[in-house]
């Protein structure tokens, strides 16, 4: 943060500096925009200066070097890029390693298909960051990958640099249906939680073995032999060590309480409940445990455990102090998450800023990248969307989408509207 302040000062006082650095990336000045910052209100005739892919200055007027590329937003809305905290796009058919209910060693990065057009279609809907999660067939699924929607860039450029690790847990109908249909454990919710608890106990034993060994080795015990490396238990041990954030697919309120109790039993923290359609029933407990939710705006009734879903879930939970994100879990809805967020203004009177936060800063927190994206603040990545129409409505459509200060989508362009991806290449 200090660096950012310094940068802003330098830029303000020495506007020519930006150009002289000679980086490949051009500095950009976006002017004449209604800037919805998410964290500090709205600037009606605002400008943003982008330097080296980061937001360097925000205000009614900003000092930018003469050589900066100017984007005149023409009085349109400018928001942070949308963050989708629950997505399964770009994984081909490799969402679920549904061969064992405990697969914490699966790495979604290994399945990441960076050429999937779904990345582009979401980009055109204003999504700049997504958390790609393992499916919910397993009680403990694999580890997520965080991507930026730089469609047309190289694979590794699309990986969110140094994003924290997340793991997918599940509960309820999916695991019991998948394994129950094969006459395997689990086929009930009792079975679900027993499988989860058993795995965590194994991880505790594994940690103990390694701790013992490390201690012996440290003492210089020459007879100490290292335990066998076990990828599965290593991953779970990292959960217990607090090194991996736990993201839990869950619908029913009773299961949320059980998951909270289990997390306490084993000493890890739950980052977010996903889907969480009954969060409104236990919102105070979620708030007390600092557990966020990544929920749908109004999906319901698609299965028994979604029968008590209500469209006020997001706002009721928010008012009890829960950090709420609206997510897609869909390659359809991730193209218009802005509309999904706007529904919270209808169901429970969320303010414009609260609604926008549910698809920007709050999901960024769930993903663990809220210090880098999710709001328009100096020092953050310049992941920005210029909208035609008011974004929190049926009518808002992204005109330009920037990621790390680079335009990746421009609606006015012919063809796909992509700047980095060229058709036929």
């Amino acid at each position: 943060m200090l660096y950012c302040v310094w940068l802003a000062i330098v830029l303000a006082s020495a506007p020519a500096l930006g150009q002289s650095e000679g980086t490949a990336r051009h500095d950009i000045l976006i002017k004449n925009a209604i800037v919805m910052t998410v964290t500090h209100g709205k600037i009606t005739n605002g400008s943003i200066y982008i330097k080296d892919g980061k937001i360097a200055a925000i205000g009614e007027t900003v000092n930018a070097p003469a050589g900066a590329n100017v984007i005149d937003a023409g009085g349109k809305y400018l928001t942070p890029g949308i963050v989708d905290s629950h997505s399964h796009i770009a994984l081909d058919d490799d969402v679920n390693e549904a061969t064992n209910p405990i697969t914490p060693h699966m790495m979604m990065k290994d399945a990441f298909d960076y050429q999937d057009k779904a990345i582009y279609r979401a980009l055109a809907g204003g999504v700049t960051t997504s958390l790609l999660l393992h499916g919910s067939a397993n009680m403990i699924g694999g580890q997520a990958v965080v991507i930026k929607h730089k469609y047309g860039a190289a694979r590794d450029e699309m990986l969110f640099p140094n994003a924290p690790r997340s793991i997918k847990f599940a509960s309820g109908e999916n695991p019991k249906r998948v394994y129950g249909s094969r006459d395997q454990l689990p086929s009930t919710r009792m079975g679900n939680f027993a499988v989860q608890r058993e795995a965590l106990i194994q991880a505790q034993d594994y940690m103990r073995e390694w701790d013992n060994y490390n201690e012996k080795a440290k003492r210089g015990d020459k007879d100490a032999t290292p335990p066998k490396h076990d990828l599965k238990l290593e991953a779970l041990a990292d959960v217990l060590r607090g090194k991996i954030m736990v993201q839990i697919h869950i619908y029913r309120a009773d299961e949320m309480l059980t998951e909270i109790a289990m997390a306490k039993e084993f000493g890890y923290k739950i980052r977010a409940f996903h889907h969480a359609l009954e969060a409104y029933k236990v919102a105070d407990q979620l708030a007390a445990n600092n557990i966020a939710i990544a929920t749908f705006s109004d999906w319901w009734g698609f299965k028994q455990e979604a029968w008590d879903a209500i469209p006020w879930n997001a706002t009721m939970s928010m008012r009890k102090g829960v950090r709420v994100a609206i997510k897609s879990d869909s390659e359809d809805y991730n193209r218009r998450l802005n509309q999904e967020a706007a529904k919270t203004m209808r169901y429970g009177d969320a303010t414009e800023e609260e609604a926008l936060k549910m698809i920007t800063l709050n999901p960024a927190w769930i993903v663990g990248v809220d210090d880098r994206v999710g709001s328009i603040d100096v020092g953050k990545d310049a992941d920005l969307v210029i909208w035609e129409g008011y974004p929190l409505s049926s009518y808002g459509v992204p005109e330009k989408v920037l990621i790390d200060g680079d335009v990746y989508f421009d609606r006015s362009l012919p063809g796909l509207g992509t700047t980095h991806y060229k058709e036929g290449e």
Binding site: K117, A306, W307, I310, D332, R335, S394, Y395, E423
Partner: protein, 450 residues
């Protein structure tokens, strides 16, 4: 044996009574409960057919709209209940042109689903009216959000999955809610009807589009033969009656009844509407030539991937139930290829309507219309596509689809633009009666807000 279905539909007199019956149902059923006139005064009235009245008023009496006009000058009947709707937007009840309301409750729970009979591809004798569950918890959810009428269609797994019904989303029971039974019949030719999902060793006929087309053609030919057989029988029977005393011939034997063929006859006679579903240009053109071969009267459905042949579509001069516009574009297509389809059809003079194609998400029907305007569809046309256009296609424009005197008083009061996702519906009137603004979800909200 008799064959009442055919005789009934053939008779002009009976057709007249059938349409009269429809009128009576709309007026009588739910309207019985409107005990005194209701006046909504002071809101912005979107009439759909004759513009917007900024400070308007509407009078509803005995289930009908009896006056629409300026708030200052409208005549308020004696004994009327006057509701101040200043700041609100008033518009006609919305019409969803394809839903599965009443055919499902919880999607993943098979026992709650009566969506489509997959045991055969040709099932025109399935009547959604006979599965329609009037007490479904989904109906109040849709209704509370301003959808007052809908077409109930079977799911699209079969080429001919059965017949639609046209419902009103309020009524004491299914009979009251089913305004028109068997109002139309889907003919699905999207490719999804092929029985080719199980791999080569388990495939059954029809596993190709050739198979689907041949099977369909055979079904229509069978129905035509069936019709001939019966008219021949009736002629011989009449002859026999005339010549009873002359030749002592035995009474001719009645042909065996065939429900499938009977169901197809009103469609072959052009009396009822086929809803012709296709996605790609080739499927579309194959299906249209088949429909023309049998002189079917049809509207088009979906055509989400027929962008290359929109001039051809316009040339057919039939309405299109478009989308859903959320249908994903093909891999090589621009992101907004389907979003912009309504606008592109409209520009070519095609009458369009929207459908939710859903049961749980019927309430989101207007969002789709709003979104289409962001891709070039004029606002007024988007609103028409979920009101008057739909009423016209389904043959109920004399009663529904706009705020006009004489129409059924299906009226929505909302806190803003009906096509915006943010807009909250405050009150719905169906046939002039205030619909309870509650549903399962509202009750849960209130229970957990205590």
């Amino acid at each position: 044996m008799t064959k009442p279905a055919i005789s009934f539909l053939r008779s002009t007199k009976c057709r007249f009574f059938a349409s009269l019956g429809l009128t009576i149902l709309i007026v009588m059923g739910w309207a019985r409960a409107q005990d005194k006139p209701v006046v909504l005064r002071g809101g912005k009235v979107l009439t759909v057919t004759h513009g917007v009245i900024d400070n308007g008023a509407i009078v509803m009496d005995a289930g009908k709209i009896t006056a629409v006009g300026d708030a200052g000058t409208i005549h308020i009947p004696g004994g009327a209940r006057v509701i101040d709707v200043t700041g609100m937007t008033i518009y006609p009840g919305l019409i969803d042109s394809e839903t599965q309301l009443g055919l499902t409750e919880i999607s993943a729970e098979e026992m709650t689903n009566d969506l489509v009979e997959l045991s055969d591809e040709i099932m025109p004798h399935m009547h959604t009216a006979e599965a329609f569950h009037a007490e479904s918890a989904l109906i109040p959810v849709a209704r509370r959000n301003g959808i007052t009428n809908a077409v109930i269609a079977p799911e699209s797994g079969d080429t001919l999955p059965g017949q639609d019904s046209f419902i009103q989303l309020a009524g004491a029971n299914a009979t009251e809610m089913l305004l028109i039974r068997d109002n139309a019949m889907p003919l699905n030719f999207t490719g999804d009807q092929r029985r080719n999902k199980a791999g080569f060793e388990k495939r059954k006929f029809p596993s190709t589009r050739m198979g689907l087309a041949a099977q369909l053609r055979q079904a229509f030919l069978d129905a035509q033969d069936y019709e001939l057989k019966w008219s021949d029988y009736e002629r011989r029977k009449a002859d026999a009656a005339l010549n009873k005393d002359k030749d002592k011939k035995p009474e001719p034997l009645a042909p065996k009844r065939d429900l499938k063929s009977e169901a197809l006859l009103p469609y072959l006679e052009g009396k009822k509407m086929i809803v012709l579903a296709a996605e790609s240009p080739s499927d579309l053109q194959t299906a249209v030539s088949l429909a023309n071969e049998f002189k079917l009267k049809f509207v088009l459905n979906h055509i989400s991937h027929s962008q290359p042949v929109l001039d051809y579509v316009a040339g057919l001069k039939v309405p299109v139930i478009v989308g859903p516009i959320y249908e994903a574009p093909k891999e090589d297509e621009r992101y907004d290829t389907v979003y912009s389809l309504p606008a592109r059809l409209y520009k070519r003079g095609v009458k369009i309507v929207f459908a939710s194609y859903s049961a749980h998400n019927v309430r989101n029907l207007p969002d789709q219309a709003g979104f289409a305007t962001a891709f070039g569809l004029p606002y007024d046309e988007a609103l028409k596509a979920i009101t008057i256009n739909a009423a016209e296609i389904w043959g109920v424009a004399d009663q529904l689809g706009s705020l006009d005197v004489g129409k059924t008083a299906n009226v929505v009061v909302a806190n803003g633009d009906p096509l915006d996702v943010k807009t909250d519906v405050k009150q719905v009137f169906i046939a002039g009666r205030e619909v309870p603004m509650s549903d399962r979800q509202v009750r849960l909200r209130d229970e957990y807000s205590k």
